[in-house]
């Protein structure tokens, strides 16, 4: 169950092999089929025939179970603008994308590229756009759109900053067009993780130049820009661009051409957001039927999760994992028949974790947290099995925080370390540290004579609070007082960033591939704040509390290895360095992982076909977007 293929050299071979397969498959089926409604439009002359809409080599998607049928609406729910990634992850217009062919069998495939090559030193990446590929308005996609993206969309005077993915230090990668369908990305140093990160980050590599130029100051006059801003009801042309830009964002503007399987037809702020099939989508199934099978996707706006739960029970949700809490598992199961759906389980890679801040402003506590014996004591004082049974219905796994089994880089020792319940040993460790004095309530006293009290700051909801209350009971058994400070998410982040949190509470996530986002191990991710001041020292953002870790601290070693991994000559070398980082943390974990790898619940209506079971879900691999959603179909 390991994501080996991602990093093995066969990742490249696979891409090439796949395009060979595509060529042969197009040879088998020279004629393509299409959705009946599109066929009608073709017959009426309002749409070109499917052969002209598809690229010469369409992407061939193998359906998980069977060839689907056209039609139907996929009904989902969303929580408002802040939840826009939910709908978007179903149809990200990526040049390369993650795939999962069987549980845990991950890979990267070219999406709107037909293939890509990497040179031996991992410094030059050559991408081939599918010849004849069209935007959703029928306009051809060429390297002109790629150059437009890098010259006019990202960069200093452009709407978006230059993506960090295409930067090494302050030096930018060079993007060059070889011909209309081929372009290269070159780095001065090796960038072994580039393609993998490209499958995950919000860097689209091309934007529809023919449409967007009219909103860009390099091509449009000031009057034209002002007129466009007025038409979209925004203050200036800048507001037409960006993540929710009125002209640029395919989530806001129905007119902007995209490369997604569906395009938005009713954008927010509607109470129901609607996406409809892109007639120019570049993929077909193994029998040459143009994808997607499903006509439309709707997202109904909901305010309260209880409403969503009722919608589930009433069979108003066809396929969705987002906002489906593990705690509702019994409720969802009970109503399977009533709602005509099944609860399908994918495994998750998150670990619910407490983060003792070794650089907290309370100096006495910081010194305690810095001692491995203390961290070991608070770790082994927790009965993780009990927490799993009570809070997670026994569905999660009691473990230390680290990439769980199934992750690409994984260390068995780390996730097993200090996770056995042993309160006597915990007491002995604390006694051994000299924390033997007690106050009137039986709590231990700190070296400065105050009661030993840990303040946990959390920004989470009901089930997590249950977890924290159990933890505080277990800690109270070894003489440590605990208090909970539950705050709003923004405030949480503010406090962490100001080094005002003694112990944070946030899952360790993004584990499928920790090298892509290794902040938890480098102490540089606010969510995983086990050494905020030291992490800030490395980030060098000018925070006044930032301070270097002591001489010989593991962080120096971790940072050096992570830096080396990002410019390693090969993927194997990067992986080896990543494994070393995990080994460093396995010696003496710096945090308190509690339970993890909890199941992710998918509500899957019985009318939805081709949904795979038992996969691994992770943000890195794009959540549900890991499956080609275009091959899902509605049985009717």
């Amino acid at each position: 169950m390991r994501i080996t293929s991602l990093f093995s050299p066969s990742g490249v071979g696979m891409a090439v092999g796949l395009s060979a397969l595509l060529l042969s498959s197009t040879a088998w089926s020279q004629t393509y089929s299409e959705a009946p409604e599109l066929a009608e439009m073709v017959a009426a002359g309002s749409l070109p025939p499917v052969e002209e809409r598809l690229p010469l080599e369409p992407r061939v998607v193998t359906p998980y179970n069977e060839i689907g049928t056209y039609g139907g609406t996929w009904r989902r729910a969303f929580k408002g603008p802040s939840d826009d990634r939910g709908p978007q992850k179903l149809m990200e217009p990526r040049i390369v994308r993650f795939v999962q062919t069987a549980p845990g069998e991950f890979g990267i495939e070219p999406a709107w590229a037909s293939s890509y090559e990497i040179n031996e030193t991992s410094t030059e990446f050559t991408f081939h756009i599918r010849e004849g590929l069209k935007w959703s308005d029928g306009h051809p996609v060429t390297t002109e759109d790629v150059l437009f993206y890098f010259e006019d969309v990202v960069g200093d005077d452009n709407p978006w900053p230059w993506p960090s993915l295409l930067k090494q230090g302050d030096e930018r990668a060079v993007v060059m067009a070889v011909n209309a369908y081929t372009f290269t990305v070159s780095f001065s140093q090796p960038s072994p993780l580039f393609v993998t990160r490209l499958a995950r980050e919000y860097v689209w590599m091309a934007k529809p130049a023919h449409y967007l130029k009219q909103f860009h100051p390099a091509y449009a006059s000031a009057e034209e820009l002002a007129a466009a801003a007025a038409e979209f009801e925004v203050a200036g042309w800048e507001d037409l661009w960006g993540r929710r830009g009125k002209a640029e964002s395919y989530w806001v503007n129905p007119d902007v051409p995209t490369l997604s399987a569906w395009t938005i037809t009713t954008p927010p702020p509607a109470d129901q957001v609607v996406f409809e099939r892109n007639p120019y989508f570049y993929a077909v199934d193994t029998e040459g039927n143009q994808l997607p099978y499903i006509d439309a996707i709707t997202h109904d706006l909901f305010q309260d999760t209880e409403t969503l739960n009722l919608w589930v029970a009433q069979g108003r949700i066809d396929l969705q994992q987002r906002h489906m809490g593990v705690g509702n598992f019994p409720f969802f199961k009970e109503n399977e028949a009533a709602g005509d759906y099944e609860v399908k389980i994918w495994s998750g890679l998150e670990v619910d974790t407490l983060w003792p801040n070794q650089t907290t402003s309370d100096v006495v506590m910081a010194e305690l947290f810095q001692q491995a014996d203390f961290r070991q004591a608070i770790n082994i004082a927790i009965d993780r099995d009990t927490i799993n049974e009570i809070v997670f219905a026994g569905l999660a796994t009691p473990m230390q925080a680290g990439p769980p089994e199934g992750s690409a880089i994984y260390n068995e020792e780390l996730i097993g370390k200090w996770s056995e319940y042993d309160p006597e040993a915990a007491n002995a460790l604390l006694d051994g540290m000299g924390l033997t004095e007690r106050d009137g309530d039986g709590y231990r006293l700190r070296p400065d004579g105050k009661t030993l009290e840990i303040v946990i700051t959390s920004a989470l909801f009901a089930s997590d609070i249950d977890m924290l209350e159990l933890v505080s009971e277990f800690w109270s058994d070894i003489g440590i007082k605990t208090s909970l400070d539950v705050v709003e998410r923004t405030l949480y982040l503010d406090r962490v960033n100001a080094n005002e949190v003694m112990m944070g509470h946030w899952p360790m996530g993004r584990a499928a591939f920790f090298l892509i986002d290794p902040g938890a191990y480098a102490a540089t991710l606010a969510d995983n704040s086990w050494a905020t001041a030291w992490g800030e020292y490395h980030l060098d953002r000018g925070k006044d509390f930032a301070v270097a870790p002591p001489e010989g601290h593991i962080l120096h070693d971790v940072w050096a290895k992570l830096d080396a991994a990002s410019t390693a000559a090969s993927q194997e070398e990067a992986i080896a360095l990543g494994e070393e980082v995990l080994a460093i943390h396995a010696a003496e974990p710096n945090w308190v992982g509690v339970v993890g790898a909890a199941p992710n619940l998918f509500i899957r209506s019985n009318r939805v076909g081709n949904f795979p079971e038992g996969f691994i879900r992770d943000d890195i691999t794009r959540d549900i977007g890991i499956i080609p959603t275009e091959q899902l179909y509605i049985k009717e």
Partner: protein, 329 residues
């Protein structure tokens, strides 16, 4: 009377001005701003970029002092009727809140009317026939209705409707009508969904109205003028409706102004639970995401409605009870 109304309307201006400053200040009280919320969201999705946030901060003018931001908002509103821009939805506030406010006003008005239609006759009857079986039933209902929190009632009714009828009772429209233009069918669909919010929002109001009406009418029934009216040989229903009831109505009319904001705020939790496309949930979301112009505009408009409600109640009062005179000085 006309002069009085004009004067009252003129008083709206300083009042609204004060309200707008206070509401704008309250919105700014929590630490951070919309962009810190956005940062948190971006962090959670793993696409955080400090540069993007910095650019937006300048773009939105968040780096300017409070008074400058307020001044710009006020000026745009006064000069162009522009309520500002919703950062989160990325649309002008005015195009966002129109339908939400309209539905809020419609549901609130419907609730108010339904409450009165139900509560007044029951209250009067309870007073005229005190300690009858009907009075006890109404009393029990009244106390339960008053004591049950709206959101709980909403959850219970939703649950019952789901378990016994398998019906979807959330929202104001069926999914197929959500984006549909206004047609007769859509209005029918609205009425099919409206009963639940009416019950939930109206129950506690109706309950207290029944209790008050009963007490007021009981008080009045003892008064000599009732005796006099009866002595003149008027039919009993006329005696009651024309005199004691009319006097008993005073407290209700004078509280219309306060009932409206109560209904609005009561509607927030109810609307969230029932997933109603009303102002409340939108306001709450705007507040949590610190979408300040959207939140500020909602609070501002709700204040306007409250002021208008108070004015209407004062005018109605003079019509119903001629003993009340406006101070013309």
């Amino acid at each position: 009377m006309t002069g009085y109304i004009i004067r009252r309307i003129l008083w709206f201006i300083p009042t609204l001005f004060a309200v707008s400053i206070v509401s704008f200040a309250i919105i700014q009280l929590p630490p951070g701003d919309y962009l810190t919320v956005l940062e948190a969201q971006m962090g959670a999705e793993g696409d955080y970029s400090p540069e993007v946030v910095e650019r937006l901060r300048e773009r939105f003018g968040f780096d300017q002092p409070f008074l400058v931001q307020y001044g710009k908002w006020m000026w745009a509103m006064l000069a162009h009727g522009d309520l500002g821009y919703s950062f989160e939805w990325r649309v002008p506030v005015s195009s966002l809140i129109g339908e939400y406010m309209a539905l809020t006003v419609a549901v609130t008005a419907a609730t108010l009317i339904a409450t009165w239609i139900v509560a007044l006759p029951i209250g009067i009857y309870s007073a005229v026939r005190p300690y009858s079986v009907f009075d006890y039933v109404a009393t029990v209902f009244g106390f339960i209705g008053k004591a049950t929190p709206n959101f709980l009632l909403a959850l219970i009714l939703m649950w019952l409707a789901f378990v016994y009828w398998g019906a979807d009772v959330s929202g104001l429209f069926s999914p197929e009508y959500k984006n549909a233009p206004w047609t007769w069918d859509k209005i029918v669909d609205l009425f099919k969904h409206l009963w639940l919010p009416l019950i939930v929002l109206g129950t506690s109001g109706a309950a207290s109205l029944i209790r008050q009406m009963r007490a007021n009418v009981l008080d009045e029934l003892q008064k000599p003028y009732v005796e006099a009216a009866r002595a003149q040989g008027l039919p009993e229903w006329r005696v009651i409706l024309r005199y004691p009831v009319r006097v008993a109505l005073n407290p209700f009319l004078s509280t219309i102004g306060t009932t409206i904001p109560e209904l609005f705020s009561g509607a927030v939790t109810t609307a969230i639970v029932l997933n109603l496309p009303m102002a409340g949930p939108m306001l709450l979301r705007a507040l949590t995401s610190q979408d300040m112009y959207l939140a500020g505009s909602f609070i501002f408009l709700l204040s306007v409605f409250t002021l208008i409600g108070t004015l209407i109640s004062d005018i109605l009062l003079t019509i119903v009870d001629p003993r009340i005179q406006f101070d013309e000085a």
